[in-house]
């Protein structure tokens, strides 16, 4: 809406504001990423470590920076962006403000994949076995949902399939815990499911970054379609939107972004549900306009929460998913009350 001489000023104001909001959010992401690198348990001289790293000296600080601090900060941003973006895309597509990234069952499937790897003992022998298992679980779920979407199954069909997938994956995860060979393995699985970014390696970043990037592109490409869907599926179709293609892009995009996110970090709940609601007052309710800001705000939330768990001196460390749920659940209650108030 920029750049035309005939455009009245009122029309230009909103996009300008949107761009300003995006810029501020992006700066906040950058600042929090740097803060996440700088903040840790042990006193740490970041400039010295960076100097070592750049100079190629394999000192302990350089190793800590490269192997622990930087991956953790990057993953926080990547996972948060994925969750926020997917949440906004799902809410926009389903025209339901209570939809979250897990609504299609992809998170549960990814968690199940990772849990099975845990259970099989592969996780101990290879550090990337766990995330790969998660990605495999998400891929399986996405293939199933994608087949449904391609067959022309409507929105309701997708939601029902998602609920079925979530329940099945949840039941199988419980089964794996039930049959766990020893209590420590079960405990480890439970802790992992709570979601955390602690002790991740650059390999984790390399594994999820390309998958997430493709997922983001697919979901961001649906922005005009999500706008058109504000009216109805029929109206969107009459405006030239290919609904089957939109469904496929969303299912695949969500699977790649959230699936690989869960695979590397475990389940981090509520971010995708909450973030679009925080963003809408700033950029407006048009679903296509809330995608980028929701991604950025998701990154901010996860980075901030992850800094929070390191600043809180609890032992053992609070799990990231626990913190986001503690913040998110009350928010959900307020949201429900407000929605009910409006309906009444």
């Amino acid at each position: 809406m920029i750049g035309s001489e005939t455009t009245p000023p009122s029309r230009r104001a909103v996009p300008h504001r949107r761009r300003l909001v995006m810029l501020l959010l992006a700066l906040a992401v950058l600042a929090l990423t740097l803060a996440s690198v700088a903040i840790g348990y042990a006193p740490f001289d970041v400039p010295a470590a960076l100097a070592d790293l750049v100079a190629g000296r394999t000192t302990l600080p350089a190793l800590v920076l490269w192997e622990l601090r930087i991956p953790r900060a990057l993953l926080g941003g990547l996972v948060g962006f994925s969750l926020g973006l997917t949440g906004a895309a799902m809410q926009g597509y389903l025209r339901n403000p209570l939809a979250d990234p897990g609504i299609l069952g992809i998170s549960s499937a990814a968690a199940l994949g990772a849990v099975l790897v845990f259970y099989s003992g592969l996780a101990a022998s290879m550090s990337l076995a766990l995330p790969l298992g998660g990605v495999a679980g998400a891929a399986l779920a996405a293939a199933l949902l994608g087949a449904l979407a391609a067959r022309g199954s409507g929105t309701l069909g997708l939601i029902l399939a998602g609920i079925a997938l979530s329940s099945l994956a949840g039941a199988l995860t419980a089964l794996a815990l039930n049959l766990s060979p020893n209590p420590y393995a079960a405990l480890e699985i439970v802790f992992w499911l709570m979601g955390s970014l602690a002790d991740r390696s650059p390999d984790h970043v390399l594994l999820c970054l390309p998958l997430m990037a493709i997922g983001w592109i697919l979901m961001l490409s649906t922005a005009p379609a999500l706008d058109a869907l504000t009216l109805s599926e029929d109206s969107a179709a009459s405006l030239g939107i290919g609904l089957v293609s939109v469904r496929l892009r969303l299912v695949t995009g969500a699977a790649l972004a959230v699936g690989s996110g869960v695979a590397v970090s475990g389940a981090i709940g509520f971010v995708g549900l909450v973030v679009p609601h925080l963003v809408r007052p700033l950029v407006g309710a048009r679903p296509g306009a809330s995608l980028w800001p929701s991604g950025l705000a998701g990154a901010i939330l996860v980075l901030a929460a992850d800094i929070g768990v390191r600043l809180l001196a609890t032992r053992p460390e609070l799990k990231l998913g626990v913190v986001t749920a503690l913040i998110g659940a009350p928010f959900l209650i307020v949201l429900l009350l407000r929605t009910r108030g409006r309906a009444a």
């Binding site: 809406m1 005939t6 490409s221 009216l231 109805s232 029929d234 009459s238 405006l239 407006g284």
Partner: protein, 280 residues
């Protein structure tokens, strides 16, 4: 210049909704699509926009199969206003109307000056310019309908298909909307409107197409298409007719006639007992 169906048949969930519809619509006319509930009017409208796939026959636009047209070209040439008035998010009226420009925009390009002009024009025609910055979900149902009508006008398509565009409106805005649709047809747009109000249909439309039970019962100028025999046969009503002070004829559905839908002549599938065929 023509949007035509040939032997169009549509089945949904195993039920025949439309059967053997032959229809040739021309631009520059306001065509009213009428018929009792469940006659298949909405389905015909959807088929005319290629939003539902026929099991037999097909739809052509200027001689070309509509289903072979690229989606975005079809969307630029045929605008559809659906009933229901659904607006899923609290976006501004201007943003709603701007959605009508989606088929004209290259992917992710900002709206052009032409888009802006079309949006302003459409809002002015639907008399909602003063509501431009209001949140669309907070509008009254009549205002919302006009916003959605402006959305459809903003496409500036050759064809405008409207499903019950006046149902939610008060009498003044019903007259405004019908006048607007007729004016659009006079400017060369082909306007097809599903209408339930036979009085409005008879007064404003150039041509009336009557559907019943998925079949075409009558097709012609209002006086011919909405004959007493047809009204009894298709709708089960009689009508009062007369001439208004300004000289135009009017038609007013007046009483049940004891036949027609639920009256005994037509069964539930819409197959009517022959004898009083009004199409002759």
């Amino acid at each position: 210049m023509t949007l035509a169906t040939r032997d169009l048949g549509i089945r949904l969930d195993g039920r025949t909704i439309l059967d053997g519809i032959d229809l040739s619509l021309t631009r520059g006319m306001l065509t009213g699509l009428v018929g009792p509930n469940g006659a298949g009017k909405t389905t015909l409208l959807r088929a005319l926009a290629s939003l539902v796939a026929p099991v037999q026959g097909g739809v052509t636009l200027d001689g070309r199969a509509l289903s072979a047209l690229p989606r975005d070209e079809r969307a630029r040439r045929i605008a559809v206003l659906f009933q229901g008035g659904e607006i899923g998010w609290p976006i501004s009226v201007r943003e709603v109307v701007a959605l009508g420009r989606l088929p004209h925009r290259r992917a992710f390009a900002d709206p052009s000056a032409a888009d802006g002009a079309a949006i302003t024009r459409a809002m002015a025609r639907a008399d909602i310019a003063h509501l431009a910055e209001r949140i669309a979900t907070s509008l009254s149902s009549g205002e919302r309908m006009r916003a959605l009508l402006a959305r459809a006008l903003a496409v500036e398509a050759e064809w405008l298909l409207a499903d019950e565009p006046v149902t939610a409106l008060d009498p003044a805005h019903q007259l405004d909307a019908m006048t607007l649709l007729r004016a659009a047809s006079r400017e060369g747009t082909g306007v097809v409107a599903v209408l339930h109000d036979l009085a409005l249909a008879a007064r404003f439309c150039d041509r009336i197409v009557v559907l019943s039970g998925g079949r075409l019962l009558a097709d012609g100028p209002p006086d011919a298409a909405l004959s007493d025999g047809l009204l009894a046969h298709a709708f089960g009503v009689t009508a009062e007719r007369g001439r208004a002070a300004d000289g135009t004829g009017y038609l007013l559905p007046w009483a049940r006639s004891g036949s027609g839908p639920e009256g005994g002549d037509c069964d539930r599938a819409g197959i009517c007992v022959p004898g009083a065929s009004p199409t002759e």
